[in-house]
C-alpha cells in the first residue's frame, strides 16, 4: 500500500527541512522515495496548510511499572470518569490506564515513549503493562546502582569487564534499551537508615561511594556500547543549592557521554530570604562547558499530579508535602526502592512558581535543542497531557508573559524569565522532540522522514495557538497505519518494545544463578521477561536495535 501525504510543510531536521512544502510517501510501514511517474498511489491525503513531522519521541516518561501502578491504586479519586463516549475499541474510557496512555500520546503525535525507571526485578511487571499500551512504541531503561549484586562486585574489587557483563546481561534479561542510575547507592543506603545521600557519600556495608558507582556504570555503558548514554537521576533532587550537585556530576562524567534527567529539579540555588533561588544560569553555564552532557528538563506545570520516583530518599523526605495527604514508600528486593507522593503545584506558591520559572529559564538559556530535551518527567513535573501547553510556553513569548502575571510575584521578581525573548521555532521543536531524541536513544529508524524510516508520521493543522495545534494531531500514522484522525483514535493497533542486546560472557549466568539461589530464592528463568503480550509473540513484540557508541551531540547535528 503506497500512501502520499500531499502538500504539507515538512519539518525534518535530519534533512534540514525547515517548513518546505514536500510530498511524503510511504509504502506499508516504511517511508520511501518519491515513486516514479505513473506509480499507483493507493491513498492520497491532501494536507495543505498542515505541518508534517516524524512521530514524536518522549525520552523520559513514567508510563509503566511498580511505581506507576501503585500510584494508580493509591489515587482512585484522581482519575474518576464522569461521562465518556466509548470508541468501539476496548478500554477506550479507562482513565490513566495503559490504553489512555497510548491514546493520549498518539493524539498529540507521539509514537515512541521511554519508561525511564525499570528495576530489573520489576521488569516483567513493567513489560506486561507496556504490552497493553496501544499504538505507541515503548522502551525501558533498566535501573542499576542500588542493587546488591553490583555493589557486592564493586566491594570485592571486581574487574570492569565483570561489571560490563552484568550490565549487558541485565539489559538482555530485562529487555531494556538503556541504563538508568538513580541517586546511585541512595536507595540501598536508605535501607540502612540513611536519610540523605550525596555524590561522595559511601553506601553502608559496601564502602563504595555514589560517585564511584556512577562512574563504574557509565564506563560499562560506554564499553558495552549502549547507544543511549547512561541516564542519570542525580543525588539531592529538589534540595536548595543542588545546582552544585548537578555541576559536580557533569564533572564526574569525565568527558564521557552522560544524560542528566529532569534537570529542572537540580537548577536550585539557596540564595534570597527564603534560601531558595534560581540557579538556571549557573547550571546552563556548566552545561555549555560540557558538550558530553545531555539533559532533559522535567518542566513543572501547575495543577494536581503525583510524584513517583525510585529515589526513595527524595520521596521520603518530601512525605510531609503530600497533597492529598497520603504517600507510599517501598523497598524492593535488594535492588532499589520506590516512592509515590501526590502533589499539587500551585501558582500562588513561591517555591512552585520558582520551579516553573527555572524550568523555562533552562529551556530558553540552553540554546541547544540537540542536547536539551523536552520532558515534564511525567507525572512528576506535570502529566504528559500538558505538553501542548508547554510547547506554547516555549514558542510564544507574549503568552509566557501573560502567564507570569498569575504567578507568585516574589518568585517572578527573582527570575530572569521576563527578560528572555527567545521563542522556539517549529524546527527547534522537531529537533528536540524528534530527530535529536531518536539519536540520543540510538533509534536510527525513527525521528526523521528520510526514506527507510518507520512510517511514524504526525500531521498538525497549523494554528497560531500552538497549544491547540499540538493537542490534537490532524493525522497520525503509526507504522504506516492511520491511528489518529482529527484528534481521535481511529484504530487501536499494537506497539512494540525497543531493546538493545549487547554481548556478554555467558558464564555470568552461572554466577548469577548461584547468587539468586543464595539470596533470592528465584530461578533466573522465572522472572526473565518474556511472553508479555496476549496477542503478540515475543519475536514481534521486541525490536532489537544495534549497539554502538553513545550519543554525542556534536556528531549528531
Amino acid at each position: 500500500m503506497l500512501i502520499r501525504l500531499k502538500g504539507g510543510k515538512v519539518y525534518d531536521p535530519a534533512q534540514a527541512l525547515d517548513g518546505e512544502i514536500r510530498d511524503i510517501y510511504f509504502r506499508d510501514s516504511v517511508i520511501v522515495d518519491k515513486p516514479e511517474a505513473g506509480a499507483m498511489i493507493d491513498a492520497d491525503y491532501d494536507i495543505a496548510g498542515c505541518v508534517v513531522m516524524a512521530g514524536a519521541i518522549d525520552i523520559h516518561s513514567h508510563i509503566a511499572g511498580g511505581n506507576v501502578n501503585t500510584a494508580r491504586l493509591l489515587l482512585p479519586e484522581q482519575h474518576r470518569n464522569f461521562v465518556a463516549r466509548k470508541l468501539g475499541h476496548r478500554f477506550s474510557t479507562s482513565r490513566w490506564s495503559a490504553t489512555e496512555t497510548g491514546y493520549r500520546y498518539a493524539r498529540m503525535g507521539y509514537t515512541t515513549v521511554v519508561e525511564p525507571a525499570i528495576l530489573p526485578i520489576n521488569a516483567l511487571d513493567a513489560h506486561l503493562q507496556m504490552a497493553d499500551i496501544p499504538i505507541i512504541d515503548t522502551a525501558g531503561l533498566a535501573i542499576l546502582g542500588n542493587d546488591d549484586y553490583l555493589l557486592r562486585l564493586m566491594r570485592s574489587g571486581a574487574s570492569q569487564s565483570q561489571i560490563n557483563d552484568y550490565v549487558a546481561w541485565t539489559l538482555h534479561s530485562t529487555r531494556c534499551l538503556g541504563l538508568k542510575v538513580i541517586n546511585a547507592g541512595g536507595a540501598n543506603a536508605f535501607k540502612s537508615n540513611a536519610r540523605s545521600f550525596d555524590l561522595d557519600d559511601v553506601v553502608p556495608e559496601y564502602g563504595v561511594s555514589s560517585r564511584h558507582i556512577l562512574q563504574t556504570l557509565q564506563r560499562a555503558a560506554c564499553e558495552v556500547e549502549i547507544p543511549h548514554p547512561v541516564h542519570v537521576h542525580c543525588n539531592n533532587l529538589g534540595v536548595p543549592g543542588n545546582v552544585d550537585t548537578a555541576l559536580a556530576t557533569m564533572e564526574a562524567a569525565q568527558g564521557l557521554p552522560m544524560h542528566l534527567a529532569h534537570i529542572q529539579f537540580y537548577g536550585y540555588g539557596n540564595e534570597g530570604d527564603r534560601g531558595f533561588s534560581s540557579a538556571a544560569a549557573k547550571l546552563i553555564d556548566g552545561f555549555k562547558k560540557h558538550p558530553n552532557i545531555t539533559m532533559d528538563v522535567g518542566q513543572v506545570l501547575f495543577g494536581q499530579t503525583v510524584t513517583i520516583s525510585g529515589d526513595v530518599i527524595a520521596q521520603y523526605s518530601r512525605r510531609n508535602d503530600a497533597s492529598p495527604n497520603k504517600w507510599i514508600a517501598w523497598d524492593a528486593e535488594c535492588e532499589g526502592s520506590g516512592g509515590v507522593v501526590p502533589y499539587r503545584y500551585k501558582e500562588t506558591s513561591f517555591v512552585n512558581s520558582l520551579q516553573w520559572l527555572i524550568g523555562l529559564e533552562i529551556f530558553l538559556l540552553a540554546e541547544d535543542p540537540w542536547r536539551l530535551f523536552f520532558t515534564t518527567d511525567h507525572p512528576n513535573g506535570a502529566p504528559f497531557t500538558m505538553y501542548p501547553y508547554l510547547i506554547r510556553l516555549l514558542m510564544d513569548r507574549d503568552y509566557r508573559l501573560q502567564c507570569l502575571e498569575q504567578l507568585n510575584q516574589e518568585a517572578v521578581a527573582m527570575s530572569l524569565l521576563k527578560d528572555l525573548d527567545k521563542e522556539f521555532s517549529l524546527y527547534d521543536i522537531a529537533v528536540m522532540t524528534r530527530t535529536a531524541a531518536a539519536r540520543l536513544l540510538g533509534l536510527p529508524d525513527r525521528g526523521h522522514l528520510r526514506p527507510g524510516a518507520v512510517a511514524d508520521i504526525a500531521v498538525y493543522r497549523e494554528q497560531a495557538d500552538k497549544a491547540a495545534m499540538f493537542a490534537d494531531a490532524e493525522l497520525l500514522f503509526k507504522n504506516g497505519r492511520l491511528a489518529v484522525q482529527n484528534g481521535a483514535v481511529v484504530e487501536r493497533c499494537n506497539g512494540t518494545a525497543q531493546v538493545v542486546q549487547p554481548l556478554f560472557d555467558h558464564r555470568i549466568e552461572r554466577d548469577l544463578q548461584n547468587y539468586y539461589d543464595r539470596f533470592y530464592n528465584l530461578g533466573l528463568a522465572n522472572f526473565t521477561v518474556g511472553d508479555v503480550d496476549a496477542g503478540q509473540a515475543d519475536s514481534e513484540r521486541f525490536r532489537a536495535h544495534a549497539c554502538g557508541r553513545p550519543y554525542l551531540a556534536e556528531n549528531a547535528r
Partner: protein, 421 residues
C-alpha cells in the same frame, strides 16, 4: 514420565519456584519442596473435561454460544471469582468493558481492608528478598503465618545466608494476636518466638495501644485484650531498636468490623518508627488465588483495583457498592459469570440468575450452573504470569502437562468475540 524442576507456584502467594514435579500423563506428583498449600493444589486430579449446558455435556463452542446468549440477554452482568492469571484478567476485563459488567475479585472484601487504609493514608512496605536479607525483627499481627504460607520461614527467614545478617538464627519473631500452630517459627538455634495472644476482636485495641506506646503516650491501663501493657511496651521498644523491622499481616484473617482501621494503625505505626529514626516496613500478605494478579492487572487496565463496574460505559470503582455477593443477594444483577481457575472448591454463590461458570476442573455445585466450562489451571495446564504477594515481582508460570483444558483467557475471548457478532 517426566520430571520438571524449578516449578513456580501460583497458589501460595510467596512465589515459591523450586518445586520438582513428576508428570505422568495427566497425573502430577510433587517430589520435592511441596507444602500443605501447594502440594494438593498441584496434585488435584482432573475429573471433568467436558463443558456442560444445563447439566448436559456439550462441545466447547456450544457452551460458549450459550454463555454469549446469557450475557446478551443480561442488563447487568456480574463477573465474580476473577481468579486467573494476567492474560485471563486481560480477557476478563475486555469482556466486562464490552458488556458493561461489574468485575469483583472474590477476595476483595479482604483486599479492601488494605486498599481502604492505603488509599486513605498510604504505607511503607517491603518485599520478600528484603525480609530474607535484612529483617532482624519480624512482628506477625493477627495471623498464624505458617498455616497461611507454610514455607515462609524456611525460605525467607531461617535461610542460611543473608546479605546483611551475620547469623540469621539470631533474628527475632513476635506474634501478636494469634499463636503459631507449628514450629516453623522456632529459630535454628532453638529460640522460640515471643507470643502475645488476644482475641481477633481485641486486635484493634491492642494495635492502637501498641502505636500509642511507640509514640510515647502514657497508657494508664495495665492490660489490653488480655495482653500486659508492659509486654506491648517491650514490643514497641524492640521495633524501635531493630535495624530493619518488618510488620506482616494478612488482611484475609482480620475478620472483624472496620478491620481497615487496624491495618491503618499498623501502617501508621510503621511510619512513626521511621519518623523516629529507625527503619521499619510493612509486608501485607496476599497473592492467593490470583487476588493480587487481578488487582494489579485491573490497576493498569481500568485504573482501579478489581472491584469495578463498567455499567456506565467506563470503569467506576467502589469498594462497597460493587460487592458481587451483595449485588446478587439484592437482585442487582441478572447474570453471573464466575471465573476461578485455581480452586475447584471456590464455587459461585447460589443464585436464581443465569450463571456461567468457568472453573477449575472438578468443581462440584450445589446448584448446577446454566453453563459450566472446566478450565485449565495457570502454571499446570498452560503457561502464564502471576503476581507475588509483594506485588513487585511477577513470576512466569509453566505448562506442565497437555490436558487440553482451555485457558480462561481463551474462553473469555471467545465469549467476547461471540458478543460482537
Amino acid at each position: 514420565m517426566t520430571e520438571i524442576t524449578e516449578v513456580p507456584s501460583p497458589f501460595c502467594g510467596i512465589g515459591t519456584d523450586d518445586l520438582t514435579i513428576s508428570v505422568d500423563g495427566l497425573s502430577l506428583k510433587v517430589l520435592s519442596n511441596g507444602c500443605a498449600v501447594n502440594t494438593p493444589a498441584f496434585e488435584q486430579v482432573i475429573t471433568d473435561f467436558k463443558p456442560r449446558v444445563a447439566g448436559k455435556q456439550v462441545a466447547l463452542e456450544h457452551a460458549v454460544a450459550k454463555a454469549v446468549e446469557i450475557l446478551q440477554d443480561s442488563n447487568q452482568p456480574i463477573i465474580g471469582g476473577c481468579a486467573t492469571d494476567v492474560n485471563g484478567m486481560r480477557a476478563l476485563l475486555a469482556l466486562a468493558d464490552r458488556c458493561g459488567a461489574v468485575v469483583d475479585q472474590m477476595n476483595f472484601n479482604a483486599s479492601r481492608r488494605n486498599y481502604l487504609a492505603m488509599q486513605d493514608s498510604g504505607w511503607m512496605t517491603t518485599t520478600l528478598a528484603e525480609v530474607k536479607n535484612r529483617c532482624d525483627l519480624l512482628l506477625v499481627v493477627g495471623k498464624d503465618l505458617e498455616s497461611f504460607v507454610p514455607r515462609f520461614f524456611e525460605r525467607y527467614f531461617w535461610n542460611q545466608e543473608s546479605m546483611f545478617l551475620e547469623d540469621t538464627a539470631n533474628r527475632e519473631v513476635i506474634y501478636l494476636g494469634k499463636a503459631p500452630s507449628g514450629t516453623a517459627q522456632v529459630s535454628p538455634n532453638g529460640k522460640q518466638a515471643q507470643v502475645l495472644t488476644c482475641a481477633d476482636t481485641d486486635l484493634p485495641e491492642v494495635v492502637t495501644v501498641l502505636r500509642a506506646l511507640v509514640k510515647g503516650h502514657k497508657i494508664v491501663i495495665d492490660s489490653v485484650g488480655g495482653i500486659k501493657v508492659s509486654d506491648l511496651q517491650t514490643v514497641a521498644e524492640r521495633l524501635q531498636a531493630a535495624k530493619y523491622g518488618v510488620v506482616t499481616w494478612a488482611a484475609s484473617s482480620l475478620v472483624f468490623d472496620q478491620a481497615e482501621l487496624t491495618v491503618q494503625s499498623i501502617c501508621e505505626l510503621i511510619k512513626d518508627i521511621n519518623d523516629q529514626g529507625s527503619r521499619c516496613s510493612g509486608l501485607p500478605l496476599s497473592g492467593k488465588e490470583g487476588d493480587l494478579t487481578a488487582n494489579q492487572v485491573a490497576g493498569w487496565i481500568s485504573g482501579y483495583p478489581a472491584r469495578i463496574s463498567y455499567a456506565k460505559g467506563y470503569p467506576e470503582y467502589d469498594p462497597y457498592l460493587y460487592d458481587s455477593r451483595v449485588m446478587i443477594e439484592n437482585g442487582e444483577g441478572d447474570a453471573l459469570l464466575w471465573v476461578q481457575a485455581f480452586n475447584s472448591k471456590a464455587i459461585p454463590p447460589v443464585t436464581d440468575v443465569p450463571t456461567i461458570v468457568l472453573g477449575r476442573s472438578g468443581m462440584l455445585f450445589d446448584k448446577e450452573p446454566d453453563v459450566y466450562i472446566p478450565l485449565g489451571t495457570p502454571g499446570i495446564d498452560h503457561a502464564g504470569h502471576a503476581y507475588r504477594a509483594d506485588s513487585v515481582v511477577a513470576i512466569r508460570l509453566k505448562k506442565l502437562r497437555d490436558s487440553g483444558l482451555p485457558a480462561a483467557a481463551d474462553v473469555l475471548s471467545a465469549i467476547e468475540r461471540g458478543l460482537l457478532i
